[in-house]
Amino acid sequence: MKPTSYRHALLPFALLALGLATAFGVRAALVPDTFGDRGWYRAAAVDDQAALAASYAPPTACAECHDDKAALHAKDAHERVPCQTCHGPGAEHVATNEVKLPKPAAASDCLACHQRLLARPGPFPQIDRRDHFKLVGVKDESTPCTTCHDPHEPLFLDRDRRQARLHPLIQRCRDCHLGRTDETLVKPADHPAIFECQYCHGEIVADFKQRPHQRVPCTTCHLFTKESDFAGRIVRDADPRFCLLCHRAGAFRSVDAPPSIEWPSHRDDVSTGPQDANKRCVDCHQDRIHLRRADLGAAHGG
């Protein structure tokens, strides 16, 4: 028996068409534009991300106006500290001079890097504020670091740090031991701590230990910074302002130690003529520190 009509057979097809249309409709509405162009994500999102505004100006931007500060900064110990690490994000300041950047000068700002901590790498300069003040005779606990240290020129290096002398890191036996190794040092456990100044500069260190600065570590004046696994840079600092970091007279400083100097009146008082106008502390007081290599009669070994 044949059916009289096939209309009922159209119903499943109509339902299928409706279902497909709904499915495609839902998908088209929910899947955002550019989705799937580059992968299973919205390709335009990459450009959205790239179009965000930067808060930090390019590192070269600061020196374009502040070239004087930049030149000062580039030659001293903070040479590698980017401007905006202390002064904060500067893109707005570069765009409009209306926005001024902070000049952080609180002790806590300096101590973020320089607070003595066990976890901080040994060669990095770090202090305990109480010990530091005791060493340099500062009475007032609230004295800010910037009283003595200029953040752009913290150590008053008397020569450009980038041209400082390269000094090897002592790593191989033969760097010190020419020929046969000393009997007592055959066992590595008996070996003294590696890389102490007196192992190579024994004569100078022995002389230094007889003189008033004996408690000052060598690296306080001979600033050493590790440059690679094999070498560092070492500077001898003899700028009068460097000596005055410890010796400058000030109301916040104790009178006993270290001896307080009025500067530059001290230089003017002992001056014998215009040739003394640029005299440095070490030109008269070298005997307070240690004798020079030439005075000791030793040839420079390296």
Binding site: A28, A29, D33, R42, A45, R80, Q115
Partner: protein, 257 residues
């Protein structure tokens, strides 16, 4: 752009319209969208050929937190959340390992951990951030395709598309993701994507005063990063997770996880 003549709809509007019937299909149908739609002018024309990577030298890290503060300022990271942070490790004579992060919004360590000095064998800092894994778990678990790896190898979040479900936050083995309490979507390190596309360094790399953080193109055979990685010993975090991180730690101590 080919899709510009399309009616723009939010998902909410789209669902409302759907209730009215499948006629919407007509609105949304159109020619195939051109692949690789052009974005804003790039300072770096070869950007899509890059494969950005990152290296950290923990021996140089002084734990000052400058990177964390720079990241916060650059990316408007809410207080209490971190896109990058610095962990401090103290390894004790007993073999116990103490890990802590600096307290306070400025992320500054002010004192040693409260353990007698003679008990401590070694102590060091380890900066952490998103590892921008080659096989990123977070992208795999995202149900809507809101987390993805950009053509230049940076794992990013599409904040307009993210539904804030938090699967990726749980999936990341390195704990580098969080739900932003202001936008309520997933948030993480982008390697300062808006900076690197314009030839700048990420804010944390630029702010680091000791050069402990290095950033570069792994596809550049003579680049700084490839050179460092060919000369130095390094390892990645949790290699057993199979994520193939692109954040390399130079000479990292074995205690670090």
């Amino acid at each position: 752009m080919a899709g510009d003549h399309h009616t723009k709809l939010s998902r909410r509007e789209a669902l409302a319209l759907l209730a009215a019937g499948p006629g919407l299909l007509l609105l949304r149908s159109g020619p195939l969208r051109a692949a690789g739609a052009s974005g804003p002018a790039d300072a770096d024309p070869d950007w899509s050929s890059r494969n950005w990577g990152y290296a950290i030298d923990p021996a140089k890290c002084i734990g000052c937190g400058a990177c964390v503060r720079a990241c916060r300022a650059e990316n408007h990271v809410p207080v209490g959340r971190f896109r990058t942070w610095v962990e401090r490790y103290h390894v004790l004579r007993s073999g116990e390992v103490h890990v802590d992060v600096a307290p306070g919004p400025n992320h500054v360590f002010t004192a040693d951990v409260g353990v007698p000095r003679e008990e401590i064998v070694k102590a060091f800092f380890v900066p952490k951030l998103c590892n921008h894994c080659e096989r990123s778990v977070c992208s795999q678990v995202c149900p809507v395709g809101a987390t993805y790896t950009s053509p230049d190898g940076v794992v990013l979040v599409d904040s307009k598309h993210c539904i804030g479900c938090g699967y990726c936050v749980q999936a990341c083995p390195y704990g580098t993701r969080f739900i932003n309490p202001e936008t309520h979507v997933a948030d993480k390190c982008t390697l300062c994507y808006h900076r690197i596309r314009h030839g700048l360094q990420p804010a944390c790399v630029q702010a680091c005063p000791t050069g402990a953080r290095l950033f570069g193109d792994l596809n550049d055979p003579h680049g700084m990063l490839t050179t460092v990685l060919s000369q130095r010993r390094y390892r990645v975090l949790k290699p057993e997770m199979g994520t193939h991180p692109k954040c390399f730690y130079l000479g990292l101590d074995r205690e670090v996880v």
